[in-house]
């Protein structure tokens, strides 16, 4: 199949637009690698494999934090997958614009993350699939390379608490949360979710309060 010039142009545009974001994503990957490789984390090699296959920062940090606080694997898995449930509607939104057979669509769908989705958006719900792929590849490389660098460097770090690394988790989730508060419903769901989690911490095993907080999203059924 000959790749014609407009497609190459859009691929390159997507990649170039993603570079500033890729620097941030790469540094974010470094912090995931560091936190995973330091004591109490999941370990360096699992962290890198997770970045290669999962490619979703907030879910990976969520799994890491549930594991690090002594939660059951099933709680870590559920928390991460509930967070990634947002990729269901995001995937649906780009689906009409992806081209080719099922395998090609499957691969391109994996390159959808919040940032590549935003870069590919042309407004009014339309998307450029080639920009999506160009941006997605650059962001994926940055995420994986960042994780490897952090995982190698993280082994050299000392006590995570003395370095304040335990405060890095909530700060990161707070920063990601602020980006999600785009409506009154989102603010209400966030407050209710936090309330549910705090109320359950003394009574439920680690990870379970986070999963239970997903019920706060049900206010989407009653409030518009």
């Amino acid at each position: 199949m000959a790749t014609d010039a407009p497609i190459r142009f859009e691929l390159r545009q997507g990649a170039i637009t993603a570079v500033p974001l890729a620097i941030a994503v790469g540094l974010f990957g470094v912090s995931f690698g560091v936190l995973s490789a330091s004591s109490g984390g999941m370990g360096a090699i699992p962290a890198v494999i997770m970045s290669v296959t999962t490619f979703a920062g907030s879910a990976q940090f969520a799994a890491a934090s549930v594991m690090g606080s002594g939660g059951q694997p099933v709680a870590a898995i559920a928390a991460a997958l509930l967070l990634n449930a947002r990729y269901l509607p995001i995937g649906v939104s780009v689906a009409p614009y992806l081209t080719g057979g099922p395998l090609r669509r499957f691969v391109h769908a994996q390159l959808v993350v919040d940032e590549s989705w935003a870069i590919a958006s042309r407004g009014e719900g339309r998307f450029d699939p080639h920009r999506l792929v160009g941006a997605g590849i650059v962001l994926w490389l940055a995420w994986v390379i960042g994780t490897i660098v952090g995982a190698i460097g993280g082994d050299a770090l000392g006590d995570p608490a003395a370095l304040g690394l335990d405060a890095a988790f909530p700060a990161l989730f707070l920063a990601l949360l602020v980006g999600q508060l785009r409506s009154g419903n989102a603010v209400a769901a966030a407050l209710l979710g936090a309330g549910i989690a705090v109320a359950l911490i003394p009574f439920a095993p680690p990870g379970v309060p986070i999963i239970a907080a997903a019920a706060a999203a049900l206010i989407g059924l009653v409030r518009r």
Binding site: G91, P170, A171
Partner: protein, 104 residues
């Protein structure tokens, strides 16, 4: 297989399926409005829960320690529209400093 590898495998496989579901299975059809309105609120609800549990949770107890000072500092950094990485560094530095002077 260790717990870490179980989590890595399950989260990886689950995420790949979630991302592929729309483009491969649904084609161009939209999700029902009610499903979309709930799914859109999952991320804010869960991220807020993660902020709460990682700030106040310790095993199965609610505690106030240096993490609270770190997170409050992160909140101030966010008010000034600091980039994510700087926010995280500010939080870690504030918590480390608080521990250094014997708070939390």
């Amino acid at each position: 297989m260790s717990d870490a590898w179980v989590v890595v495998a399950a989260v990886g496989a689950g995420t790949i399926v979630i991302k592929a579901a729309g483009p491969v299975l649904l084609g161009g059809r939209p999700l029902p409005e009610r499903v979309r309105s709930v799914v859109a609120l999952l991320a804010p609800a869960l991220l807020a829960a993660l902020v709460a549990t990682t700030t106040f949770g310790s095993e199965q107890q609610l505690v106030l320690d240096a993490r609270v000072i770190g997170v409050a500092s992160a909140g101030v950094a966010l008010l000034f529209r600091a980039p994510v990485l700087l926010v995280v560094v500010v939080a870690a530095a504030a918590a480390a400093l608080a521990r250094l002077v014997g708070i939390g």
